[in-house]
Amino acid sequence: MSQTAASRHYAWAKQTDYNTQKAVAAGNFKELIMMDQNFLDYNVNTGDDGDWSTGANTITDQWVESHGNRVQHTMPAFAQQMGELFYMMLGQYAVATPGGGTLSRNHTFKPTDPATTRQNVAVSYLENVGGTGGVHNILARGMVGTGFSLKGSGVSPLMADFELAGSGFMLTDSAATWYPTATPTVTRRTGQHKLFNTQIGVVATDPANGNTTYGCRYRSFEFNYKQTMLDEASISPGCASFLTSGDQTSGAVRSSHEFDRQSLDYTMEVDILNQLELVRLQKQSPIALVLTATGGLIEGAIPFKLVWTIPIAKWTVAKPVVSGGMMRTTISGNALFDFATSKLFDIVLTNDTTTYATGW
C-alpha cells in the first residue's frame, strides 16, 4: 500500500525526568498536528583507526561512539497544543482560573530561572508513517527544546517553528498504536482553537512617548526565543549512558541536556507613519512591548487569548521598506531582562486546558 504525506503522524509526551522514557501505553501520548513534512535527523557518531599505525593504507576498524538526533517542526497556533510547546521550551509555569471562569485557565509561561535548574522538561517523541504497524515507527527519548519562533503574517493562522534536540536514544520499532486502533497509545486532538494574524494587537510604550497602539498599521511579527545548550557536557562519560544499557559498544547517549544562555529577539512590520521608531532606535528607549492575540470565546466573556509581554524591549533596526507595494517600517530588537519583574518576557495563554504540568 502506498504511503503519502497524509500518512505521517507525530506525537509526544512529557517525561518525569530527562532519562525516563514515557511508557508506551494507552493514552500516554498526544498527537501533534504539524504543518511541515520533516522527520528526525538521526546520526551515529563513529571513530575509526584511519590515522593509526595499523600497517594498512586505509581504515581497518570503525566503532560507534555516540548517537544524536534533532528535529524541526512548524505547528499551527492551536491555543491548546501550543501550551505544551511553551511549557517545554520555557520551563517556568503557573496556572490559575480567571475571574468568572469555570473551564477557562490562564497559563503563564516564562523562561526557567537558571538559579533553580538548567534542565528543562524533556519529551518522548513519536514519528509514524502508516499508522499502527506502519513502515516508520520511531520513539526518541529525552527530547528538549532549543528554541522556537512564534510568527504571524497576512490573514493566516499564527504558527510556531521549533527545534527539539534529543538524547540520541531512539527505538526503531516502537509499539505505539495510533487511531483507528482501539484505545491507542496516541490520543487524537479535538476541539483545537486556532489563533490568526488578524486577531493580533501590538502596543509599544516608552517613557518619553507613551503608548503606540499599532492597530491597522500592524502587518506581521516574529518573536524568536533561543537557548544555547550545553551539548558537550550532556554526554558525560562517567554516567555510562548507552543506547543499550550496560553496553558501551552500542554508543553513548546524553544523560542530561541543560541550557546555557537564553535570549529573545523579534521583528515586526508596520505601515510607516512617522519617525518615532527611528527616534526610539537612536535613543535606545526602553520599550514595554505587548503582543495580544484574541480568539473566540471559551465561556461567558472569556476568550481564547495569547498575551506576550516583553517588559524591556530595545530596537536594533527601524527602517523603511517597500513591502506589498507599500511603504512600511520594519522593526527588530532584543529583549532585556527586567529585574523589577524578574523576567525576560512572559506568555499568558488563556484556553480550556486544565493544566500543562500533567496530562501529556
Binding site: G91, Y93, A94, A96, N106, T116, V307, S342, T355, A357
Partner: protein
Amino acid sequence: MSEKIYLKVPSEPAADEVAIGNFSAKLTPKEVITVENRRFADWLVNEWGCAEVDSPVGSRQSAEGSEEEEPKAQAKKNGGNK
C-alpha cells in the same frame, strides 16, 4: 536520602499549580506540601509566597515565641489572574 522540606502554601496563592523544569507543585491554600529539592523550595518561597515550616503539621514558631501569621500571597503577579 533527600532532605524533606515542608512548605506552607499561602491562604490566597496566586496560582493553582506551578512548575519549573521537572519540578511541580499544586498550591492548595494553607496546605503543607513536601518537596525534596532545596532550590525548588527556595523558588516556591521567593516566587509564590510559601513559608518553610518544621513539619507537615503546624507552623514554625518565631524567635520571639509568638505564632507566625498565616502567610499571605506575597508572590509576584507573574502567574496569577490578570
